[in-house]
Symmetry: C2
Subunit: 680 residues, 2 copies
């Protein structure tokens, strides 16, 4: 009770309480940014909430020579608590469940004895991100001070505008040196290769989104063991049988379905434990993305002001701009692929018909080299186009923004990476070429990745020195403008150093890499049984190098919530469906398999048999996915129980309120009666 008291009192006049200033996030302005714009931003960050500010603590540092300004931003505990309640952040309740933080009920949350450590550093930074991005232009803010030409309109996130116009160079949270060291020791040390990842700690430090990625990578890697084992057995035993490929393909089809279903259940367990699983996720009242633009209107659910952009406009942009442009890109990629095969066929014929072959060797390899370069270029260009188009579509929610981006990437990479395999398998119908082409694609992409990632530690230590030297020079020159509280020198240096580190671009590329690998392993598994082994070897090291990069190479990313892998689940499941078709077709086309069937069977009937088999497998896959519940029973029960308890609490409180009201009425009516009695 005392604590609730304390917190609310403190909140009302928070300026009276002094807490040591701990900088959590950094805003770094460009050296060319005008002072008026910097001052305005600082004022906005410090202004009180009812004036449209963020009510945060800001310390300003400038480097006199380069004229760079850095803001060290923190917040006192009450500000953080208030924001956490508004954001409906969940913390562990004493009853063992994740519950939304309620300030007046803080004493029921675990770890609330010491409010300064109640939130982890990651959570504090997440809150600050939300509050800083949430500072939006007021009706009177028509432009950024000092920049007449940079218009603002009400409801637009100010920080986003500064970032997009290059006035703010960087906006990043600070690492926690002690914690990251402890996490790293458990996570990526070589003696830990076969131990489980410390998922809870990863989640505490990096947020649910990244933890879910690593959990998926872990489960998927473990799931690769059985097919890899079969691959090894096939390699070692030289067992030749017509059933060899068919057995492997059937196993893989079942296995991939079970993997994806098991993952769905596991991720719901994780996200239940982490408090991100929503009982009715479709109906969540999400806030719009900070980048979302539109006329200022009202949210139909909450009634709060927010930008509104009509759906038909978005549909127009999607169907009239995005769809045609992406279709053109897909066609270009397809045509380039065809050109490659034609060039290769021509080169082959020249090479084989020539006399002095070694002279013509360059001709033989030119198509592949040209094609590799072309793929790389197309990928880069397409990536930019897709990003632009996606931003242009102006999705309201972060989730749909991301899902549309995933859809674009997946479509293109499907054509770019898998179409050539389809071409070889079903148009050229060349099994040997398919096997070598598949092996080539898989192994090349993994080797490149491995070399890149093996380089990482090397470059890291190399760069670290330069970074350190640079940071030392910079931080020595730093001059604190706002003299309220001296910032610790170590933190000053740390902030500058982390400002020179590379930025983690999100989980998108990591998932895309896994998606392509999943496709290589399962789409044509009957053609190349060793694919799973290669993928397994790759992923075992991938987990650790990714972990090292997260901890040591990148700037700390802001924590993001996630309850599952989102649209990637659908993407992987679609690959699973397609792999049924490709594998049945491959086996059906195998002449040795065809010999097993009665010899008087017509070609048409053979095809029909395989079509029927394919449909049966698809139906079984569909039934399995339909009948396996997406959540384990215990999670369902826990969710239902939470629902039930909150409903019970609501009813009880309503009943109490009604009783109180009645009592009040009773008390009001009594005095009157007694006064009347005295009159008599």
């Amino acid at each position: 009770m005392e604590k609730a008291h304390h917190v609310e009192d403190v909140h009302r006049n928070s300026k009276d309480v002094r807490e040591p200033f701990v900088p959590l996030v950094i805003i770094q302005f460009a050296s060319s940014t005008k002072q008026a714009a910097i001052t305005w931003m600082i004022a906005k960050l410090q202004a009180s909430r009812h004036e449209g500010g963020a009510e945060l603590t800001v310390q300003t540092m400038v480097m006199p020579h380069s004229d760079e300004t850095m803001l060290y931003i923190g917040a006192n505990t009450n500000r953080l608590l208030l924001a956490a309640e508004m954001m409906e952040m969940k913390k562990l309740h004493v009853d063992g469940h994740m519950r939304e933080v309620v300030i007046h009920d803080l004493q029921s949350f675990q770890g609330s004895d010491d409010l300064s450590t109640f939130f982890t550093k990651g959570e504090k930074q997440k809150i600050l991100l939300h509050e800083i991005e949430g500072v939006r232009a007021e009706p009177l803010d028509t432009n950024i001070p000092g920049y007449e030409q940079i218009k603002l309109y009400p409801g637009k996130s100010i920080l986003k505008k500064y970032l997009s116009r290059g006035l703010v160079l960087q906006f990043y949270p600070l690492h926690d040196e002690e914690e990251i060291k402890r996490l790293g020791d458990e996570w990526y040390q070589y003696q830990k290769v076969f131990s489980e990842q410390p998922l809870d700690k990863i989640r505490n430090y990096f947020g649910e989104k990244i933890a879910i990625y690593f959990a998926f990578l872990g489960i998927y890697t473990v799931a690769l063991f059985p097919p890899a084992l079969i691959g090894i057995i096939y390699l070692v035993t030289f067992w030749k049988s017509v059933y060899r490929e068919a057995i492997f393909a059937v196993f893989n089809l079942i296995w991939s379905t079970l993997l994806l279903e098991a993952w769905k259940r596991y991720s719901s367990e994780l996200s239940y434990k982490w408090g991100t699983l929503n009982s009715s996720s479709a109906l969540k009242i999400d806030e719009p993305r900070a980048d979302y633009s539109g006329d200022l209107g009202r949210n139909p659910v909450t009634g709060n002001p927010e930008p509104v952009y009509p759906k038909w406009k978005r549909s127009c942009r999607f169907y009239l701009v995005s769809v045609p442009i992406i279709s053109i890109c897909l066609i270009v990629a397809f045509v380039v692929m065809l050109l490659y095969f034609w060039m290769q066929a021509w080169a082959d014929s020249v090479y084989h018909s020539s006399g002095e072959r070694w002279l013509y060797l360059p001709i033989l390899y030119t198509p592949t080299i040209v094609y590799s370069v072309a793929i790389f270029l197309m990928n880069t260009v397409y990536r930019m186009i897709a990003k632009e188009l996606n931003d242009f579509e102006n999705h309201r929610l972060e989730s749909s923004h991301e899902n549309h981006f995933i859809l674009k990437l997946v479509l293109f990479d499907f054509v770019n990476c898998f179409m050539s395999l389809f071409y070889v398998a079903f148009y050229l119908q060349d099994r040997t070429l398919l096997r070598s082409h598949l092996a080539c694609l898989l192994i090349t992409s993994q080797l490149i990745g491995q070399v890149q990632e093996a380089m990482v530690p090397y470059f890291f230590f190399k760069r670290r020195e330069t970074q350190l030297a640079e940071a030392m020079k910079k931080s020595d020159n730093l001059k604190q403008l706002d003299g309220r509280a001296e910032i610790d020198k170590t933190i000053q240096k740390q902030a500058v150093l982390e400002g020179t580190m590379s930025v983690y671009e999100g989980t998108m590329d990591d998932y895309l890499e896994l998606f392509l690998q999943f496709g290589y392993v399962f789409l044509f598994s009957s053609a190349f049984p060793l694919a799973a082994l290669w993928a397994l070897l790759n992923n075992v090291t991938e987990i650790r190098t990714d972990a090292f990069k997260m901890c040591r190479v990148y700037q700390r990313p802001f924590c993001e919530s996630a309850s599952n892998i989102g649209a990637w689940q659908v993407a992987f499941e679609v690959i699973g469906l397609i792999s049924v078709i490709t594998n049945t077709a491959l086996i059906g086309m195998d002449p040795t398999v065809q010999k097993l069937l009665p010899s008087d069977m017509s070609a048409v009937n053979i095809v029909l048999i395989f079509v029927i088999v394919e449909h049966v497998v698809l139906a079984i896959k569909g039934a399995v996915a339909y009948f396996i519940p997406d959540m384990p029973k215990w999670v369902q029960i826990e969710l239902a129980r939470e629902d039930y308890q909150s409903k019970q609490a609501l009813q009880k409180e309503r009943l109490q309120a009604a009783n109180r009201k009645r009592q009040e009425l009773h008390e009001i009516s009594r005095p009157r009666m007694s006064s009347r009695s005295t009159e008599i």
Copy 2:
């Protein structure tokens, strides 16, 4: 405020208040039932709730000659309100939304000025059903008094035991003569054939489940217009083209997908309006079925006592008993079908090779007649087996009980009704036979149905006279035992009369009929384009005869909740998927279509082309179903808003509670201080 007062006061000493007794539901005992059992049941119904009773008002009537006992059961308003709150029944709030009834907040609900009409009669009967079925055996109730051999165990519904042992013959709610007349005038009069059904009124009288059935029947019938129109055009124009069937099939495939998607959206609108749409239906805390048996345990969600039956036992019963028995039934049905075709082929050959054909005519028709009889017999037997198996599986929820029954029926009827079509289409590959067989199946089943249903009014009026006479005699002899309040003679007669009417067996058979019709129309639509027209004609009259039966022929059924058509949606969608396969195959097998393709194309490539087309259509269907949201935007927003508002209310009340607590503490501490100050 006054009213909340009133209600709660009344609740506390409800015995002081006299309301006129209105009988709502009837329990009719068998004439052989021992008096001890009857008395015990009456005592249970009247006992107070904390003694495990239902706290209802019961009037007993006996017929001295036949010794039949009838209980006329009602409840006073406060009892109804209390039960409604416990059942979380929803009513229209003044804010225009359906909200759960909360007794202390009754004044915020529409129609609460007159509490006696606050609930409709249907709602009152639903509440009584819930309360009467909810009277369960206590630990001391080891057997039904008077029947040593009829054991009871704690938690078992007493009424269900009486019903299953034949002690209670009937348990039914009473019709509302005025209301049913008004509803009938709007619903099934012949001048209303083309006007919309009064769905809201149907829902108020018969409950959501039946209203949803008629809504679906209506939507489906309207959706049959376009394909029926095309069928007529094809019939009239005699336009011969190879594209004729293909165009029709493609139209039908798209149309059936859109129909099912549109229905999903429409039903969510209806159920939102009716308050049965749950934002998180999977997590609803449903009560177990009254028939559900198991050891008395605790509900894991609410902690309330209820029977518990371990899941593995149910799985054992399902996989080890149900699955094998049903498989055998399916195989038998399949073999009988094969026998029919063999017999038919033999009869054909005998007939055609014989000299004096007219002598052999009986032989030609014997197989069809035998097969028809066999189908009828198999259907009857299977129905009984399926019901037994389903009860044996002992499902906890009404919904899963029903879904498993639907699954069983659908599987069998698929084999029984559609397998012969598949056999003709793809094994015999006889297009003419397919068309005539399909037409025969569809039209026969509809004619039988129509004749049956046209008979209904005739038999109704025929029987009505007998019923009336019987009821008159009976009700004259009735003698009221419990003399508290005289029951109106008209109601006495009505109760007896309705006791002689047939019982409505639920929507299961109606859906099954539609399911089969849907299959006949869409599975082989390219073979018989007129199917939609026949179905349309059938359904237009079907709606009205069904409506007439509901209002006039059957005992009133208890209102049941529903938010959609449940497992039938999946069943219809599966038919939609299969129809893609069958129609592409049919068109692909058409020789005239095959002639359109380049003549140098091999048979294998032709097959492959159609396989590809089929996959593309399936993919499009899948994408359409995935991307069309199951709820219209406005329903989503309303649901989210309700969620948001209740969360806001909860937070506000918690805040107020905290403030009050603080104030109390303040008040406690003040007097002490002031007393101290006087001490100084």
